[in-house]
Symmetry: C2
Subunit: 209 residues, 2 copies
DNA sequence: GTCTATAAGTAGATAGAC
DNA sequence: GTCTATCTACTTATAGAC
């Protein structure tokens, strides 16, 4: 490959280097956590020298904060789709729950991300809060709106009910996948979802009657 | 203090030293996580030399595993009391839930412990499983037994219902306390507990009718 | 802007005196 | 059994060449 004086193939410098560094930082921080990550390995994974990493980010903490904030706002925005759901609760609730569970469980990066966030939530509380704003908050709000829009369910407290729905799914993911509890406390996700739907929308829950 | 040849006051050696080391290790590991913890600081917090730490435990990993297993089995056994609950569901369920939440939220050490366990669950899956066996498993089993013993509740799946109860409480703790979400997704624990009780035991949940 | 080389400090772990 | 002193490897971060 002939060298071009300042060709496009070489103009990937600065901008793309930052992206490379963030990619390498993601691999390293998600694999080893904040304290366990090494800036040498970040640089190595990114394919740049360590000095280049430090020329774009102030220090390890700054790189970590930038990475986590970017992942929270870009990569893992909404557990559900973007538009509010419509239709009969006995159809919509299981569909919503299945979609949320599938997205959390199938995505290995998502699990590693949550592990790091929770593990570092004592030392980086503001990062934990960014994640609360991007993950459970929109999910709870979406479900609350949907439940409020269905007064025929006769729910005394739609917001608390939304907490119960989302909280159950989050805990299921936590215990079964993150804490490796599948064989210790076995539970089919479909049973959980059916029971949630039954309790909230009531297979046999005809209003007050 | 005169020196006694082998007096009781000095016989605290070996046995108590191990206890001191585990105490120091607990402070250090809970404060900084596994990777962030230093064996120098463990020794310093324990009031012994580092060599003494290594004479009682093989290495950092061995000390960590011993500590976590001991804490899981001794310190944080049951979220609920030991004996199975009795009485009317509309009374027992809120009482149980309040007790569990109070114990999790008020105990700062418990929160730090859960943070470390989740944060390290990728690198120490067997430790995570020990905690699943000691914490959510007995809680879910207790509630499942109680719900099964009350067929008048007409629950199609008591075990899944127990998951929902325990999972909701765990997630509430997770989001509100561990991830510092109290101001971002506000929710009164009493509203959550009342709604859980309503959905499961039904203020207005008269059997199928 | 990016690199190589290195500074300065701390990590886990052990040898050997007592 | 417990200590002090030490070894080696690795850590974050930067200086200076190009």
């Amino acid at each position: 490959m002939a060298r071009i004086k300042a060709g496009e193939a070489e103009r990937e410098s600065s901008v793309d280097k930052v992206e490379q560094i963030l990619q390498g930082a993601m691999q390293e921080f998600l694999a080893r956590g904040y304290a366990g990550a090494s800036m040498d390995r970040v640089a190595s994974r990114a394919g740049v020298s360590k000095a280049t990493v430090y020329s774009h980010f102030q220090d390890k903490e700054g790189l970590f904060k930038t990475l986590i904030e970017q992942m929270a706002t870009k990569r893992f925005q909404s557990v559900f789709g973007n538009q509010p759901p419509e239709g009969d609760p006995s159809v919509v609730l299981p569909k919503l729950a299945k979609a949320a569970l599938a997205q959390m469980i199938d995505d290995q990066e998502h699990r590693a991300f949550m592990r790091v966030i929770i593990g570092e939530s004592g030392r980086f509380p503001e990062l934990a809060q960014v994640c609360v704003r991007c993950l459970p908050k929109p999910a709870i709000e979406t479900v609350t709106q949907y439940l409020t829009a269905h007064p025929e369910l006769n729910l005394p407290d739609p917001e608390a009910t939304a907490w119960i729905l989302i909280g159950t799914l989050m805990s299921f993911m936590n215990v079964q996948e993150m804490l490796h509890g599948k064989e210790i406390v076995p539970m089919e996700s479909d049973r959980l979802i059916e029971t949630l739907t039954y309790l909230i929308a009531g297979t046999a829950n005809p209003k007050t009657e």
